[in-house]
């Protein structure tokens, strides 16, 4: 018996999946959610094996929701029209359903899920999320804060530090840990606003107060918030080209 959660902001779209899934007694729908916040709680509570996930949703989108999950379930994405995401799905052989969803396509996706072990799906989704799944750049980072979801506008970020498997995002009043790599975060943020000044540090350019020399071949960046951060040689070169020095 597989536990399933349907996540879509349109009520009829949720109903459609519920009806289509009636033919499969092995799949039990434990919940249906209209937004990412709701879904986040529900996934933690029910620990489903499979979710149907819409990408465009209120507050946080489908990708951001997946990034929040410690133990992500298998995912079948449902979307109406998003060229960029479709390319990402194709590239990583991630299951998706194009709206309007037909029974034929739906059956195929479910068959695939039953035949392939669900964990291979989980792996391919995780791989995909490590790359850029958005067209353009994000202007925020979504993090988990004591079991709740928190949206950090990129304007509020003081700097981001790599921390083993996590990144530490430091803002004016708090710092947050997110399971991700600095390289991935760097990809999603606007490169004209954020610069990787060190292997372990990413910072918004507007936070830079001044740069001081430090030892041979290295510098220290002084931020408006008072923090001092090491600048590597490549970091210095990036900073120079960005600021046009």
């Amino acid at each position: 018996m597989y536990k399933v959660i349907v996540i879509d902001d349109e009520p009829l779209a949720r109903e459609l999946i519920k009806s289509l899934l009636k033919n499969y007694p092995d799949f039990e729908i434990v919940d249906a959610c209209a937004d990412g916040f709701d879904a986040f709680k529900s996934i933690q509570q029910h620990n489903p094996d499979l979710i149907f996930l819409d990408i465009q949703m209120p507050k946080i989108n489908g990708f951001e929701l997946l990034e929040m999950l410690d133990k992500p379930p298998a995912v079948i994405f449902t979307t109406a029209f998003d060229d960029y995401a479709l390319k990402a799905f194709e590239a990583h052989a991630v299951d998706y359903l194009l709206k309007p969803i037909t029974r034929e396509r739906f059956d195929k996706a479910i068959q695939k899920c039953m035949h392939q072990a669900l964990y291979s799906n989980v792996a391919s989704v995780q791989n995909m999320l490590q790359e850029q799944v958005y067209e353009g750049y994000q202007h925020r980072i979504v993090v988990k804060d004591k079991g709740n979801i928190r949206i950090i506008p990129s304007d509020d970020i003081h700097y981001i530090e790599a921390n083993d498997d996590y990144v530490k995002i430091v803002t004016k009043d708090a710092s947050f840990l997110k399971k991700s790599t600095l390289g991935h975060i760097e990809q999603t943020l606007d490169p004209s606003l954020f610069v990787r000044i060190h292997r372990s540090y990413l910072m918004p350019v507007k936070q830079l107060l001044r740069i001081e020399p430090y030892e041979k071949n290295s510098h220290i960046a002084l931020l408006h918030c008072g923090m001092k951060i090491a600048v590597s040689q490549t970091g210095m070169a990036r900073l120079k080209s960005l600021l046009g020095w």
Partner: protein
């Protein structure tokens, strides 16, 4: 290379001519003069001429006809020569040569011919400046024209895309798909509404202008579908001030994309119910349309919305040649779009 083309070519040639003519004149006119005086004279004059010619080039502006421009340039050149003469005589007589008698003789002998040669060379410089400026003007005109053509084409393309609205269509079809399985009667109703909407879209395809009444009918057929899709989450209130508003003209497909924007912003920025307010007013020969929707500044803009409003701004600009017809007001939790349509 560009720099030489731009600045030096038009300065160097006349100045060289100017300098050599001075030199030749000086040697010819007064054999008994020493080289020192001629050199100082030529160098001073050249320096002054260089400065003046730069000023001259800045002051020259273009008139609609070539003759006027050239007259203007020559007029300026004439004054420049007078200033040049005054300055150089003052400098040489009082400061550099300290009332040297032989210099005064030299100056007296060469005065007229020097004036002529100076005017000729500065005049030539002024001419070339006029020509270069005219050329730059032409280039800018051509570019402007090309840009206008491109934005017109883009706006047209945007209009087409607005009519097609693949996202809206696919999602509506998906809702119908669901209704077929759970409530066949409502599925029929939705098919009806969707075809109403499409029929109105097709009919309007050829129309450039429409009136408020028609536009609102169209908007309502659109809202009917949206409310089926989103259930009771979506509420839209339309407030019309006065009866004469109905007949007011507005370009086709202007209001609907803005409303679609508002719905997207509202629904994606909020989890609960969403109220969208539309106010339509006719005031001082301007049709004011205000659309207000709740909005969360931390939420990612749904894709495509930026272009939506930009496209509308461009269309209004092309239609009415005014850039101030679309206004956007953002507060922490409301987003207001205001458009004005001249009647």
């Amino acid at each position: 290379m560009d720099f030489i083309n731009k600045h030096i070519r038009f300065l160097l040639l006349p100045l060289l001519l100017f300098g050599t003519s001075l030199l030749v004149l000086g040697v010819h006119a007064a054999e008994h003069l020493d080289v020192r005086i001629i050199t100082i004279d030529v160098v001073t004059n050249l320096c002054l001429a260089a400065i003046l010619s730069r000023l001259l080039a800045w002051r020259i502006r273009l008139y609609p006809t070539k003759v006027l421009s050239i007259l203007h340039a020559n007029f300026l050149a004439f004054f420049a020569v007078i200033i040049l003469f005054g300055l150089s005589e003052f400098l040489l007589n009082h400061i550099l040569l300290k009332k040297d008698l032989s210099y005064q003789v030299y100056i007296d002998q060469t005065k007229y011919i020097r004036f002529l040669s100076s005017w000729l060379s500065l005049g030539w410089l002024a001419h070339t400046t006029v020509l270069v400026k005219r050329q730059a003007d032409f280039k800018r005109d051509i570019e402007l024209h090309q840009n206008a053509t491109i934005s017109l084409r883009e706006a047209e393309l945007f209009r087409l895309r607005q009519q097609l609205q693949p996202h809206f269509l696919y999602n509506s079809l998906n809702s119908i798909n669901a209704l077929i399985l759970i409530d066949a009667e409502r599925a029929q109703e939705m098919v009806g509404r969707l075809s109403d909407f499409l029929r109105l879209s097709v009919r309007r395809e050829t129309q450039e202008q429409t009136n408020v009444l028609d536009e609102l009918t169209y908007i309502e057929s659109y809202l009917c579908i949206e409310s089926l899709r989103f259930g009771d989450r979506l509420n839209v209130v339309i407030d019309k001030a006065g009866d004469d508003v109905d007949a007011a003209a507005l370009p086709a497909f202007i209001l609907q994309p803005i409303l679609e924007n508002a719905i997207k912003f509202g629904l994606y920025g909020n989890v609960g119910k969403v109220l969208i307010k539309i106010q339509i007013q006719l005031k001082d020969q301007l049709l004011h349309i205000t659309i207000e929707n709740p909005f969360d500044s931390t939420v990612q803009t749904p894709r495509g919305t930026g272009f939506g409003l930009e496209g509308i701004r461009r269309r209004l600009q092309l239609l009415y040649a005014r850039a101030d017809l679309l206004e956007i007001q953002k507060t922490e939790n409301t987003f207001t779009t205001i458009i004005q349509i001249p009647q």
